[in-house]
Symmetry: C4
């Protein structure tokens, strides 16, 4: 059995809340060659209009700072939402420009979207993002290279461990499908509506179980919610209960950037194994 | 955080029950160029034969008036069901003529279906509908224009907020997928049967959670049921419990038209922001 | 509100258990032009080998007679299973010969399959079936005509009411998707595996809710299970609990043929409305 | 009713834990003609990196030996994981070389993959596997022939009974979809993500129900978990509870090989019926 991961102040495990602040941008990407569905645009625009603000309010109740991953186009379209996030002291990270999947882009296209989104986020929020979350939670060897070339500190899109690890020179802060609200809540109607939405009370209970497991096994639980999904009524109330549980369990509650910094700190102390190669990559 | 929406008599939130009275009409539209499935026709005709009457009985037990959206063809085929709805004092709204999705029609076709359905509903029910619910819960800029040109007061098909808002000159009374029974109950067999039906007891509990969230966040919960789905035994019994919870929570229970009137009243008092543009539209 | 349906001895409602005894036959039909999957054949052959016998044992514990719908080919392949059903005193009904969907057959083909299956079932079981359950729970106007021409007494495949009704000269004893185990349990692997199986404990609770609703609204609950699905361990134990609940509620527990006889009896007393036309049919 | 299956020491039933140790190998097979998805590779590599070791730890807590089915390529890529399994005293069985579905291979190809995987497993683990688990839980007549020709003792891929049985000269130790974690937990994102993951607490409760049914009906419950699925936090904790329940119920807890040996022993005592033919096969 690999040894248990060590957390600051001997915390039993760690819980991070991340928000993929997508709004309507994924649908604009998906319908870039066709006519967008007004229904889905409106459903998703609930995010910047209402959802983000409700999530900020819930976070404020818990005194918790989270990590918000924001496509560049979202910041351009909804700057006041982004300013509200920044002013509340949360981390802002990169999430593509038009929520483009890295697997759909050439290396040059990926680099261009990354730079463009970094510029607009820095301009609107006043701070330079240091981390990336893939819009599709998928990557390519080339997109990992770009993240390194552009000097980013971490990625948070892979699932290779349940604690931070190294991919090349980047810290990887891993996500997990069962801790993402999208597979459970996303239902958009039309010809490919998705599965019927799971009940927020059931998802909250499942996430509390994962937090208990994080304390038991010493792991990292990166929860991910979306502005247009968990910003809705019962879902926001359920998230409120999950955050309370994370505090009760004594987990280390931090931003993704803080988790990456902690791992970098441990790495520099020489307590970590050698880095994992870029997965599937051929350039090392 | 945007300010909390204000409801009449300082009610904490609002709960509306709407009924999409579809019966077999959607299947007639879907199979307009092929042979209809008898199984689905019969399953859906349970609605006008039994389901509508059971829902009316449950509503009567709660002294609640609801909003019924009825395709014109349904009124033509099942006039006694429509008369029963009207005589019980419920609101009757437009829902296309053959349950046509607005996205499948030209502007002229949409206008023709709207006028035709309005005529038959007015004839059968004796009252002129003032609101529209899209059969597919999707719209186009052109169909919004028609609603305005035809002098309707409100639409109830979009999800851009969780309180009423303005789209052009129309009041939008927003719906929500998690408050619609169709994603959870619709199962029709054949080659594309749908997901296995969710248990009515579970859906009722989820809806009660949404009603609690409406009271907590001051929002509007527009529940939507279907004659051929929630008119079934355990589903009707579950709806009964949900309506009791809405009363217990002190929510403002109103028809969609009353909610639209309330919003118009507030707008005329100048307490609202400027109208939202028709989403994605180019005509303003 | 249509008046409440009357049951024998003023029972509050009725509960029927039907068994679609399919075994491997549906897969033989589906793969008639290709190579069958051994995995699905074996999974389904659990039905005649074990499942049927376990269901018979559960029924025996409750002193309950049920209605078993059996494809002719099944009786040919697994005669001892059919004999065991007949010797326990249960009703045996028609279910196609190779589990052919009526919608896939011409009128002549449908009649041929019906006659062939009737012969083999009569030979193996020693009794002449009087009712039909469509293998696909779908019908055509032509297949309804054949049922009438062949002198059958009832069909049990449609969902137009939640009490018996007349289609042409046939009594229709309606089924209901939420009372069928297949949408919840059927999972066969391969390229189109189906949804993950629902927990038997959850389905049993849902069915108990439907039985309570049958008592509340005076309706008929026709439960349908399959030999290869509900004959499995936890599913059979769950069915056991459902049957106990039906007895506790005081529902009239009968076979489908007995329900059809009851309806015919009431019809002849002139207490029923005029028959429903064959749905969608043009021949009347 | 067929007579109740007899277990050693009059145990009421039997519970076996099997682990399909797939890691990334199924995705390598599926993407053999295209570019693999890095996201899925990383998600699956969680198995050999973390999941296997966590499962071994849970098993150790219960003093339970399980049966691990391992593709040859996995042993080649992750030998230390295989060594850890072997050193803990668990059974190691065959599972293809690159997780190839037998239905996609010719007889010669299947035999080649079998021999190659047997060699690498024997080399890495130091013991010769005696049983086979089909990677796709499907078989062909030809692949059954190869298992016999190669002198294997048992197969564990079919579902024809819920106790051991004979297929040709092989003992079949049957599996069951509802006792496999993959239909419930597998969610991989991308264009065909799968159903939203089921909650580990719900699956564990369902499996405990199946174990109770095994004790009630005298059957065999072969649970199957995957390194990259049930090795995750809350899933591993849930499995822990299931294993405790198996002990409480007094079930015979054995490896698949031990169950096969028991059945062979009973067969040689002449207490069993004649063997089942290779299902669908034409070669006997």
């Amino acid at each position: 059995m690999p040894s248990r991961y060590q957390w600051p102040n001997d915390r039993p495990g760690s819980c991070v809340l991340s928000v993929d602040v997508d709004g309507e941008v994924p649908h604009l990407w998906q319908s870039r060659d066709s006519r967008p569905r007004l229904a889905e645009l409106e459903q998703r625009r609930f995010g910047p209009r209402v959802g983000v603000h409700r999530l900020l309010s819930v976070l404020d109740d818990h005194g918790l700072r989270a990590s918000f991953y924001i496509p560049g186009h979202y910041a351009h379209e909804h700057p006041s939402a982004v300013v509200a996030i920044a002013e509340a002291g949360h981390e802002i990270g990169l999430h593509g420009h038009l929520h483009e999947p890295p697997t759909a882009l050439t290396k040059v296209e990926f680099a261009a979207a990354l730079r463009r989104s970094r510029e607009v986020l820095a301009t609107v929020s006043g701070a330079a993002p240091t981390g990336f979350r893939s819009p599709s939670w998928d990557m390519t060897p080339e997109s990992f290279e770009v993240l390194q070339d552009e000097g980013l500190d971490y990625d948070s899109s892979m699932m290779g461990y349940d604690h931070p690890y190294l991919i090349g020179s980047l810290v990887e802060v891993p996500v997990q499908w069962s801790l993402d609200d999208a597979p459970f809540y996303r239902y958009v109607g039309g010809s490919a509506p998705g599965n019927p939405p799971v009940r927020p009370r059931d998802l909250a209970e499942a996430w509390c179980d994962e937090l208990e497991a994080a304390a038991r096994f010493g792991t990292l639980a990166v929860i991910t919610v979306h502005d247009w999904l968990s910003g809705r009524g019962a879902a926001a109330a359920a998230l409120d209960r999950v955050l309370a549980r994370a505090a009760d369990l004594g987990l280390w509650r931090a931003t993704v950037a803080e988790v990456a910094d902690w791992h970098r700190h441990r790495e520099q102390q020489g307590v970590l194994p050698s880095p994992t190669q870029v997965p599937g990559g051929t350039h090392e």
